[in-house]
């Protein structure tokens, strides 16, 4: 059974049919790419998958459970975590605290426990610190854990966003243009990191990307969106050589 099964997903903004009859099926452990020209509706699909937008029609199932139209926080609890195209970190908090916010739901204690500084507070905080540092280590950010998030270099901010998403312990990780603004070396490093995350955390990854080197390098399967509709899907190599896809990207 597929981990993520999406059928007939669609949304309109006013008269614009932003996404229409979108379907995707992602197996557990896959590295799946969602590509398409600018304005094709890729981020809109992400926003529907994570509950930012409510789809007008269609069904989204994660691990066999329907999550269509649920609130963002419930979808996150169900197991989808994401990063953003324009980085959205908690800028005025430290790198470590950004990850600890991601750990919020998995390491609970009440506000009263915190105010009274009960033993549980120290115990859970210690767990959180340990877990957050493990995650930061994966992304080579452990040494920078006390920096303010806004003081990190661009590439590190992207990594921190992934670390924060992973902290919520998701089944499916959505990455929205993770390599945007990165130089070729950083992109290469990022590819290794994504592969490592998949193997190490047993993660399924769906990513939007324009960098074809990254897409062809790590994605096993692709879906191509154009004008809100699925243009092609299948094995990465086949899709990228599909004349329809080449036309959509390069024009007639």
């Amino acid at each position: 059974m597929a981990l993520l099964e999406v059928k007939n997903l669609g949304i309109s903004f006013g008269g614009l049919r932003a996404v229409d009859d979108f379907q995707i099926s992602i197996q557990k452990g896959q590295l799946y790419g969602l590509i398409g020209p600018n304005g094709a509706g890729k981020t809109t699909v992400f926003n529907m998958l994570t509950g930012v937008y409510k789809p007008d029609n269609g069904v989204i199932e994660l691990d066999g459970k329907g999550i269509t139209g649920q609130r963002t926080i419930d979808i996150n609890k169900a197991g989808i975590a994401r990063t953003f195209q324009n980085i959205r970190l908690f800028k005025n908090q430290s790198v470590l605290d950004n990850v600890k916010v991601g750990l919020h739901n998995n390491h609970p204690y009440s506000a009263l426990t915190a105010v009274l500084r009960l033993p549980k507070y120290r115990r859970v905080e210690a767990e959180m610190n340990e877990r957050a540092r493990e995650l930061l280590k994966v992304f080579g950010l452990e040494e920078k854990r006390d920096y303010l998030a806004s003081n990190l270099p661009y590439g590190d901010q992207r990594k921190l966003e992934i670390a924060r998403a992973l902290a919520t312990n998701p089944k499916l990780l959505l990455l929205d243009e993770p390599a945007a603004g990165m130089n070729p070396n950083e992109t290469k490093e990022l590819m290794e990191t994504i592969r490592f995350v998949r193997d190490e955390f047993d993660m399924t990854v769906l990513l939007i990307e324009h960098d074809m080197k990254l897409v062809s390098g790590i994605c096993e399967e692709l879906t191509v969106l154009n004008f809100g509709q699925v243009l092609a899907k299948g094995k990465t190599g086949d899709v990228l050589n599909d004349p329809k896809v080449i036309t959509a990207y390069l024009g007639e």
Partner: protein, 360 residues
């Protein structure tokens, strides 16, 4: 570029709070010595409790403005609610022969909880909205509460309690009845129970609560919502719950300041001067000038700006001029990049940790 080590990360924030506790206790001791040796003027002595009141209210407001990132223009309203509900209780219980300390503690709890309740009530609809609605609604709330208190009459007589929102005559009070709340005249004859010591204890309690909350899972969630609401939702933070938590607590602390206020005067009235719009703005000035997100700064600003006009009274005409200059100087010192840099190099925290924050 220097950085702290992870284990010291917790200590850093803990140290920050301990510096503030130490500062408050130190000032308390100095004041006690000055009062003991008679080297403090009666004018200044009369200011001691108000200083505590404004510090507490500013701490509460800072939680809302600095950490939650929501503007409240009605914290004087929460002080008003706290003041009247606690004074009402005290007045009601006055001739029952209840232990005075116990009565004050219960009044304190009642005032704080009532303010929290109103904060919660306002927060339920308003905090779901995005934008500046909270500022508008709290502004209206402050004015409404003040006006309601001015038309509220409550009388106690042998038949029990009577209350009216129009005038005293419609109460049908028995002859030997006493006014608990007498409309615009307010609550008359509350005992002077607020002392500087109680004020300082309450400052410490508020600081303890807010520091411990801010440096916890809940505090991080509150700040995450402030920094980026969409991202906070995407990692599963329940937005409304934590906004309500912070705002309710903020209102409760302001209410605690109100209790202190009510028990510092023999006549409690709701005037524009004490619970009006100006007071709310004044509290906001304390918070902004002291530095949003810095509870220590709020206290310092509240103390300086409350004392200044009184201390300068001798200069009569020039005092408001000097007051304005000090306001501008504080603003520059707090927010100018050069000043921030200077403070980071010479900060109190560094004397303890010998390290600075990760700034590139």
């Amino acid at each position: 570029m220097k950085k702290l080590f992870g284990t010291k990360n917790m200590k850093k924030t803990t140290k920050d709070s301990f510096i503030t506790y130490a500062m408050v206790i130190l000032v308390f001791l100095i004041v006690q010595i000055m009062v003991g040796t008679g080297s403090m003027s009666s004018l200044l002595q009369g200011l001691l409790v108000p200083l505590c009141i404004y510090s507490i209210a500013a701490i509460g407001l800072n939680l809302c403005v600095g950490y939650l990132g929501e503007l409240s223009l009605g914290h004087a309203g929460f002080m008003c609610v706290g003041a009247f509900s606690s004074a009402f209780f005290t007045k009601y219980m006055m001739d029952t022969g209840m232990n005075e300390i116990l009565r004050f503690i219960i009044a304190l709890i009642i005032g704080t909880l009532t303010a929290a309740f109103f904060g919660f009530l306002i927060g339920i609809p308003v905090l779901r909205l995005r934008g500046d609605y909270l500022a508008i609604v709290t502004l209206a709330f402050g004015e409404i509460i003040k006006n309601v208190m001015n038309v509220l009459y409550i009388v106690k007589d042998k038949d029990g309690l009577h209350f009216s929102m129009s005038d005293a005559a419609s109460l049908n009070m028995a002859e030997e009845g006493t006014f608990l709340i007498n409309g615009p005249k307010g609550i008359i004859g509350t005992p002077h129970q607020s002392t500087f010591t109680i004020g300082v204890i309450l400052i410490l309690v508020s600081l303890f609560v807010v520091y411990n909350l801010v440096n916890s899972r809940s505090g991080r969630a509150i700040m995450a919502i402030r920094d980026n609401r969409i991202a906070a939702e995407s990692v599963g933070i329940p937005i409304t719950k934590f906004k309500l938590m912070a705002f309710t607590l903020s209102a409760a602390i302001a209410g605690m300041g109100g209790v202190l206020y009510a028990h510092n005067l023999s006549t409690l009235t709701a005037l524009p001067a004490n619970f009006g719009y100006n007071m709310s703005i004044m509290l906001l000035v304390f918070v902004v000038l002291g530095g949003m997100g810095s509870f220590r700064g709020s206290i310092i600003a509240a103390v300086l700006l409350t004392m200044l006009p009184e201390v300068l009274r001798g200069l009569s005409d020039y005092r408001m001029l000097i007051y304005a200059v000090v306001l501008i100087a504080m603003m520059l010192f707090n927010w100018a990049p050069k000043a921030i840099e200077w403070r980071q190099r010479h900060s109190l925290k560094d004397m303890f940790t010998k390290k600075t924050k990760g700034v590139q």
